[in-house]
């Protein structure tokens, strides 16, 4: 049976390419056709690199014809959040201001590593301005739209990264996650998303937001595709001082090992409060499928979220201070106002937050003596409608934007690896965080794969 190129995972495509059952060029042309057809509705792509993609695909097909071995991602189309440097494009980072920059002269290293594994870059993706966003709304490039209901948000700030994969334009994308910007759109759009350990994947030549918390990582429609991409992207990089000097630790060989022997608990207390019924259902389903009956308290999670909020506002403002002085009117208003407020935070407060961060890290790491993974909600509920300003939590109406990330911020605050797994509820999916100890992406990916095999986690197909 011919491969359904819209539904095919990255693994399906690479296997078919290796067997000679499909040509990289045909896969790329099909992706470009889907982008041309669907992007006017979903607004996931800001740039399509069609010419480059065709050249790359032809080179892969030529390699195969010459009998050369193909990489583990041969022929897989992918796209990246537009804060990654892409040779020939200005790195706009969702902003009006940055698109005046000269075109990048090199690709961000993770793009190069994926292409070395055979993947084919087809474009750059919409995002919330300067990544200070959880909604996917953008006044400069237009709002990204959720493939499961275009009246709803994709989530952000990796909005196009989620819309492009959930909308079946590409099977794989790269995003960034400072406080939840891979996990939130994965939850809203029904995808698997990996935020690796802080320092695991190089951030060189990506436009930063908050140096203390910035991570890069993949989004896909299967746990196997996350593992394939993650394994291809690991490794040190002297260009990023935060990137760890650890060797590549492949996760794919043990992906299907199952969850026997893993001690999995559900986060209690703070992570049980303020959930919608959908978010509760999702966590319960995942916990039941894994036999995770133990509840564990992540100490001081609410304070951790507060400290993350303070550091984010301050470091983000510091990054943009000169632009706030000279180009304030060119920012998205909701981003500008938060950054101006962030510039006014006393340094003494930020220093306290960083000291608390170390205290919190030590306490949370001690939990991993008792468990291998912790389950927690990603978002308080499924995707809100575009333009929505408030949401209901525990019977009270609260501001939407500052509260979407309340369950993700305490985790990225200390750089723990997380796989967001999609639970296909109707009418909209919602995610659950599978949180592991530092450098144990393999554990989170194994659990995500087991949930997928059990049919509990699944990237639902939108009716586009």
């Amino acid at each position: 049976m011919p491969l359904d190129l819209a539904e095919a995972t990255a693994a399906d495509i690479a296997e078919a390419a290796a067997r000679g059952e499909t040509q990289a060029r045909a896969v790329v042309e099909a992706a470009l056709d889907r982008i041309a057809r669907l992007n006017p509705l979903l607004n996931a792509f800001t740039n399509v690199t069609a010419e480059r993609a065709r050249l790359r695909a032809d080179a892969i097909d030529a390699d195969r014809a010459a009998g050369k071995p193909l990489g583990p991602l041969a022929g897989v189309p992918f796209a990246v959040k537009n804060l990654y440097e892409v040779k020939g494009l200005p790195t706009r980072a969702g902003s009006k201001i940055n698109r005046e920059r000269p075109p990048a002269t090199q690709d961000q290293p993770l793009i190069a590593r994926l292409e070395a594994a055979g993947a084919v870059l087809v474009g750059a993706l919409n995002m919330g301005e300067y990544a200070y966003d959880f909604t996917g709304e953008n006044v400069h490039d237009g709002n990204a739209r959720n493939p499961h209901d275009p009246a709803h948000m994709t989530g952000g700030s990796s909005s196009g990264s989620a819309g492009a994969v959930a909308g079946r334009m590409v099977p794989l994308s790269l995003g960034s996650d400072t406080n939840g910007s891979i996990r939130v759109p994965s939850s809203y759009c029904g995808l698997f998303g990996l935020k690796p350990t802080y320092g695991r994947l190089t951030r060189a030549r990506s436009f930063p937001f908050v140096a203390s918390f910035d991570h890069l990582g993949p989004l896909a429609r299967s746990a196997r595709d996350l593992a394939l991409a993650y394994d291809a992207m690991q490794g040190p990089d002297s260009e990023d001082p935060v990137c760890a000097g650890r060797p590549v630790e492949p996760t794919l060989p043990a992906l299907a090992r199952g969850t026997d022997g893993l001690r999995i608990a559900v986060a209690g207390g703070y992570f049980r409060q303020g959930l919608t019924a959908d978010a509760q259902t999702a966590v319960e389903r995942v916990a039941a499928a894994l036999g995770a009956r133990r509840e564990i308290e992540i100490p001081e999670a609410q304070r951790a979220r507060a400290a993350a909020f303070v550091i984010t506002a301050s470091e983000g403002a510091s990054l943009h201070l000169d632009r706030l002085r000279t180009r304030a009117q060119d920012f998205e208003p909701v981003v500008r106002d938060r950054l101006i407020a962030g510039a006014m935070i006393p340094a003494s407060l930020v220093s306290r937050a960083q000291k608390f961060r170390r205290w919190y890290r030590e306490r949370v790491l001690a939990l991993f003596d008792e468990v291998d993974a912790i389950l927690a909600p990603v978002t308080p509920g499924p995707a809100p409608r575009i333009g929505q300003q408030t949401m209901m939590l525990d019977g009270a109406e609260i501001m939407l934007r500052p509260n979407i990330g309340i369950y993700t911020q305490p985790i990225s605050f200390i750089g723990l690896p997380v796989v967001a797994v999609p639970v296909p509820l109707t009418p909209l999916p919602i995610g659950v965080q599978v949180i592991a100890a530092p450098w144990r992406e393999d554990v989170a990916l194994r659990i995500a794969h087991a949930l997928e095999q059990a049919g509990v986690a699944q990237a639902p197909k939108p009716s586009l």
Partner: protein
């Protein structure tokens, strides 16, 4: 005359000190965000840490 609000005074003084222009139309939103940040910041300040607590980022020469 309404009493002066310390937070409004703080915004004015800090904006001046940082040479950060703020359009009057933006001030209500800036004030709201600053209020939220200080409220959350109090949660951080209230937590008792020892004097020798190290911040999370440690530079190694």
């Amino acid at each position: 005359m309404a009493p002066k609000d310390p937070l409004d005074d703080f915004i004015t003084a800090t904006a001046d000190a940082l040479a950060l222009p703020i359009d009057p139309a933006w001030r209500p939103a800036v004030r709201t965000h600053l209020e939220i940040t200080f409220r959350l910041g109090r949660q951080v300040e209230e937590f008792d840490l020892p004097d020798d607590a190290e911040p999370a980022p440690v530079f190694r020469a």
